[in-house]
Subunit: 192 residues, 2 copies
DNA sequence: ACCTGAACACCGTTCAAGT
DNA sequence: ACCTGAACACCGTTCAAGT
């Protein structure tokens, strides 16, 4: 893949994390890349193509990061402890959001190819969390672990949304801490 | 307030819950109201004015609903049990979102007057939840209760975001149930 | 008071032309 | 292969002017 195409994806990712898919526009994007708006179309025929490539790449990178975390530690407790840090990064970088979290809010206005990736991103995270939870408590009911994984994903996404509207990283940290205190990141999965 | 203005606010609320502030547009809005796009400006000079009025009204209505719930039940357990239902309503109504949750994602692109209301909405919810939690466990540390309130608000917001991207109300219900199983909606506030 | 036409700015997109 | 200016159709926004 050409260097320019990579640059477009990198700049677009950063911009989309701040402004979403709707707030992303070719002319501003091109200015940051150092080319003209029309030139973007040489690499991505339509905005839908760019959006889908963006979400797909973001999803792949995110999954790779999670798998690396698991491979490096092989420790469910360490993975669950580190997980909220993944979303923290975006907030620390100019009060941005997880790209797919942002796009989830815009869901109704997303091209189908982008919807697929946004949905897939959440699926991948829930699957990874489920795997980690089961590794932490081998005998656990799989459905219960998956539900717990969803709760973790939801809490982290919501904490991010809350912290963003306060533009305050401390709010994120404290909210995550409160979730931790309630036992959300523990490896045991209670079922009524 | 004139009837037309009320109609504009009602239609705009519904549309903004689906498409956000950025996705809200005067012509489509006006068509639903039965006037021309330019006529909206007679009531709301700018989109920022409409957005602020919208968020303010939404916030007021939401707080009134919460206060009524508390006044009617006077029961912390019942209030915490009913709380997720508030956000469920929007999803059940055409996979919409809480207006201020949607706007929280768009925060960077919001006019200041709208930001104030979006922030205030989250504050109001956290305050109400804190009050309910303290009523449920009178001796609790107030800071701990507030952090717990934030965790609840975050989890519910995130569950909404997740369910929206799956366009599946069942995902919302199951995620909330998982949060319940972990004890997030209990009236006791554990602090390590 | 209430509403509108028309101008304006901006968008994604196309395409012929340039390097 | 890569990039651009100009043009296009569309749309949100604004404002002076209409009733």
């Amino acid at each position: 893949m050409s260097e320019t195409k990579e640059t477009i994806l990198a700049v677009a990712r950063s911009r989309a994390q701040a402004h979403g898919y709707l707030g992303l526009n070719f002319r501003d994007l091109a200015k940051d890349v150092g080319i003209k708006g029309a030139s973007i179309h040489y690499y991505f025929p339509t905005k839908a193509d760019l959006g889908a490539a963006l979400a797909k790449r973001y999803r792949e990178d995110s999954v790779a990061g999670l798998e690396k975390l698991w491979a490096d530690t092989q420790d469910p407790v360490a993975c669950l402890k580190a997980y909220p840090g993944v979303f923290r990064k975006a907030l620390a970088d100019g009060n941005r959001m997880c790209l797919c979290g942002h796009m989830a809010a815009e869901y109704d206005d997303l091209p189908d190819a982008v919807k697929v990736e946004v949905k897939g991103f959440a699926d991948d995270h829930v699957k990874w969390l489920t795997k980690v939870l089961i590794a932490g408590e081998p005998g656990v009911n799989k459905a219960a672990a998956r539900q717990r994984a969803r709760a973790i994903y939801a809490a982290v996404s919501g904490a991010q949304l809350l912290a963003r509207s306060r533009a305050d990283l401390k709010v994120y940290d404290e909210t995550i801490e409160a979730c931790r205190n309630v036992g959300l990141f523990a490896t045991s999965c209670p079922k009524e």
